[in-house]
C-alpha cells in the first residue's frame, strides 16, 4: 500500500539502493526532507550524488528501498510527479536551434499549470537580451541559466538542482544563489547537489555528506562543523630565526603543532587565548612573526575528518 502523503515532507527515501554490476552506486540511503528546506547533497565526483538525485527525479529505477516525493512514487506516478517538480540536470541541452523565448513557451506548454508569464523568468535570470538567440549560440553560463528558467516554468514545489555551480562564473553563481533563496523564501523546497563545500555552507539548511554511495553525515552545516571538534587553526611564519615546533606546543589551548613548509599551524581549542599568548611569547623571545591568520573549520574539514581525504584531489 502506498504510504500516506505527509504534507510536511517533501521527500522521503528509505534504504534506497542502486547497483551497476558490482558497483553499489547508492548504498542504503535514507533521507527525509521537509517542505521549505534547502537541502544539499555534497560529496566528491562519483560519490553517487547524481545517481541518487536521478532516482528521486524518476529518471532511474532504484534496485531496492522506497522513495516518495510529495507523497508520490517516482516509479509509478512519474507523470504526476513531473508536473510538480522542476529539474535542472547536470548535463543538459534543448533543441540547439530553438530560440530562448521559444524554448520557454514550448516547455511551459507541456505542463498542466505553467506560470502565466514564463517569459518573465528571462528578466529574473538576466537573459532578456538573449530572448531571440538560438540555444546553441549561448555561452555555457547562459545555457545553464536557460536550463534553470526551464526548470521553473511550471512553478514547481520542489526544485532539483544537480551540480549547481557548473559552468557559472562567480558573479552568475551569486545570482543563482539569490534566485534559490528567493524561491525558498516562497516556501518552496530545494534539493541540490554540489561538490563545493562553501556552496553547501552558504545555501543549505541541512547537508548530507555522501561518499562511496553512503550518507556518512547529515546535519546543519553549523552542527557538522561543531561536532567535528576540530577547533581553530592559527597559522604564521617565523622570519628571523629557526624555531622548534615544540616551543609552541606549550602555548595555552594548543592541542597540536604542525609545521607545514615554512608555516607553523597551531591547532587550538581556544583561538583567542592561543593568539594572545603567542604574541606575548614572540615578544619575549624576539621572534618576528609574519602573516598571522586564523582559520575556523568548514565543511571541507568535515569531509576530510570523515573520510581522511580531501574533497578535491
Amino acid at each position: 500500500m502506498p504510504t500516506m502523503a505527509q504534507p510536511s515532507l517533501a521527500l522521503k527515501c528509505e534504504h534506497v539502493v542502486k547497483r551497476y554490476g558490482d558497483l553499489v552506486a547508492v548504498n542504503d540511503v535514507s533521507l527525509e526532507i521537509a517542505v521549505g528546506e534547502i537541502f544539499g547533497l555534497v560529496g566528491p565526483n562519483g560519490a553517487g550524488k547524481t545517481t541518487l538525485i536521478e532516482m528521486i527525479e524518476s529518471l532511474r529505477t532504484p534496485d531496492g528501498g522506497s522513495i516518495r516525493v510529495l507523497g508520490l512514487d517516482p516509479r509509478t506516478q512519474s507523470v504526476e510527479l513531473r508536473e510538480r517538480i522542476g529539474v535542472q540536470l547536470q548535463a543538459t541541452s534543448i533543441q540547439p536551434n530553438l530560440k530562448v523565448k521559444e524554448a520557454l513557451s514550448l516547455f511551459a506548454s507541456l505542463y498542466r499549470k505553467p506560470l502565466p508569464h514564463p517569459e518573465e523568468l528571462l528578466e529574473t535570470l538576466s537573459l532578456a537580451d538573449k530572448a531571440n538567440s538560438r540555444f546553441r549560440k549561448l555561452s555555457g553560463g547562459q545555457k545553464q541559466r536557460v536550463a534553470t528558467a526551464l526548470a521553473l516554468v511550471n512553478d514547481p514545489e520542489i526544485l532539483f538542482f544537480d551540480e549547481i555551480a557548473t559552468g557559472l562564473d562567480p558573479q552568475a553563481r551569486r545570482a543563482m544563489w539569490d534566485l534559490l533563496r528567493e524561491f525558498h523564501g516562497r516556501g518552496k523546497t530545494v534539493f541540490l547537489t554540489t561538490h563545493y563545500m562553501e556552496e553547501a555552507e552558504a545555501l543549505c539548511d541541512r547537508v548530507a555528506v555522501i561518499d562511496h554511495g553512503r550518507i556518512i553525515a547529515l546535519d546543519t552545516p553549523a552542527n557538522l562543523v561543531r561536532n567535528l571538534k576540530a577547533g581553530t587553526k592559527v597559522l604564521f611564519r617565523v622570519t628571523n630565526r629557526a624555531v622548534a615546533s615544540a616551543e609552541f606546543a606549550k602555548l595555552p589551548a594548543v592541542t597540536r603543532v604542525e609545521p607545514k613548509d615554512d608555516v607553523f599551524v597551531l591547532y587550538t581549542s581556544d583561538g583567542n587565548a592561543t593568539l594572545q599568548e603567542l604574541i606575548r611569547y614572540a615578544d619575549r623571545q624576539g621572534l618576528s612573526l609574519d602573516g598571522i591568520r586564523t582559520e575556523t573549520p568548514n565543511l571541507d574539514d568535515v569531509f576530510l575528518a570523515l573520510t581522511g581525504r580531501e574533497m578535491r584531489e
Binding site: 527525479e57 524518476s58 529518471l59 507523470v79 504526476e80 513531473r82 508536473e83 517538480i85 529539474v87 540536470l89 548535463a91 543538459t92 541541452s93 534543448i94 533543441q95 540547439p96 536551434n97 530553438l98 521559444e102 513557451s105 514550448l106 516547455f107 506548454s109 507541456l110 505542463y111 498542466r112 538560438r134 536550463a147 526551464l150
Partner: protein, 247 residues
C-alpha cells in the same frame, strides 16, 4: 496530448532552420525530377508507359524520394542527434508522454512531406503535363500508408542506432540500394533473376510502384505489395519499442 501542437509547430520550424534537411526533403526530389526529365530527357526502355510521357514515370519516383527524405532520413538523424545532445533526457523530466513526442514529430514531418509533394506536383503538372489518371484519393491513401511505414522505419533506425554516426551509416547503406532497386529509374526486369525478389521486398518498391500504377491509371494488381508495406511497418514498430532509449 497536451503540448502536441506546440511541439509539432516548434519541430517544423526547427527543421526549416536546418538547411540540410530542408534541402533533402524539399529541393532534392524536385531536382531529381528536373534532372531526369530535362537532362536525361528520353524515356528509359523496359518500362510500360501506358501511352504517357517519361515525366509520368519520374513523378511518382520523385514523390517516393520526398517520403524517403522526410521520414527515412529525417527521423533517425533527428532522433539520434536529440539523444546525443541530451534533448530527449531533458524532455523526459517534463510530463510529456512518448506518444505525444512521436505524434508531434510525425506531424511535423508530415507537413514537410505535404510541402515536398506539393513542390514536385506543381512542377510535374504545371510544366510537364503529368496527370494522375487513377484515383487521386488512392494516390493520397498510398502516400499516407507509405508515410506511416517510413516514419516507423525511421524511428526503428533511430532507436537501434544510438548515435548519429551509426544512423548515418545505416541510412546511406540502405539508401543507395533502394535508389537502384526500387524501380525509380531502372526496371526490375533488367535485374538478375535472384535479385528481383529482394528488390520487391525493399520498402520503397511497393510505394513507388503503387504510386506509379495510380498515375498511369493501371487497375490495382499484386496486392501483396501492401503486405510488404505492412510487414516493414510492423517490424519497425517492434524494433522501436524494443530498442528505444532516452539516453
Amino acid at each position: 496530448m497536451r503540448g502536441l501542437t506546440k511541439l509539432a509547430w516548434s519541430e517544423f520550424r526547427l527543421t526549416l532552420r536546418d538547411p540540410m534537411t530542408t534541402f533533402w526533403s524539399l529541393a532534392f526530389p524536385a531536382l531529381w525530377f528536373l534532372l531526369m526529365v530535362v537532362v536525361i530527357g528520353m524515356p528509359i526502355p523496359g518500362f510500360d508507359y501506358h501511352g504517357q510521357g517519361f515525366a509520368s514515370l519520374v513523378f511518382p519516383a520523385s514523390i517516393s524520394l520526398v517520403i524517403l527524405s522526410t521520414s527515412f532520413i529525417g527521423v533517425p538523424i533527428a532522433l539520434t542527434a536529440y539523444r546525443e545532445a541530451g534533448v530527449l533526457r531533458r524532455l523526459r523530466v517534463t510530463p510529456v508522454r512518448v506518444t505525444t513526442l512521436v505524434a508531434a514529430y510525425s506531424l511535423s514531418q508530415l507537413a514537410f512531406t505535404v510541402v515536398g509533394v506539393a513542390v514536385v506536383t506543381v512542377l510535374a503538372m504545371g510544366f510537364f503535363e503529368v496527370r494522375i489518371l487513377g484515383s487521386v484519393l488512392a494516390f493520397v491513401g498510398v502516400l499516407v500508408c507509405a508515410m506511416v511505414m517510413f516514419l516507423a522505419l525511421g524511428s526503428a533506425i533511430g532507436s537501434v542506432a544510438r548515435t548519429t554516426r551509426t544512423a548515418n551509416i545505416i541510412i546511406w547503406s540502405a539508401f543507395t540500394p533502394m535508389l537502384m532497386l526500387s524501380e525509380l529509374f531502372m526496371p526490375l526486369s533488367l535485374l538478375p533473376e535472384w535479385l528481383q525478389p529482394i528488390a520487391k521486398a525493399l520498402p520503397l518498391t511497393p510505394v513507388n510502384t503503387l504510386l506509379r500504377d495510380i498515375v498511369f491509371g493501371v487497375p490495382l494488381h499484386d496486392p501483396w505489395r501492401f503486405g510488404v508495406l505492412g510487414a516493414w511497418a510492423v517490424v519497425s514498430l517492434v524494433l522501436t519499442v524494443r530498442f528505444f532509449r532516452w539516453e
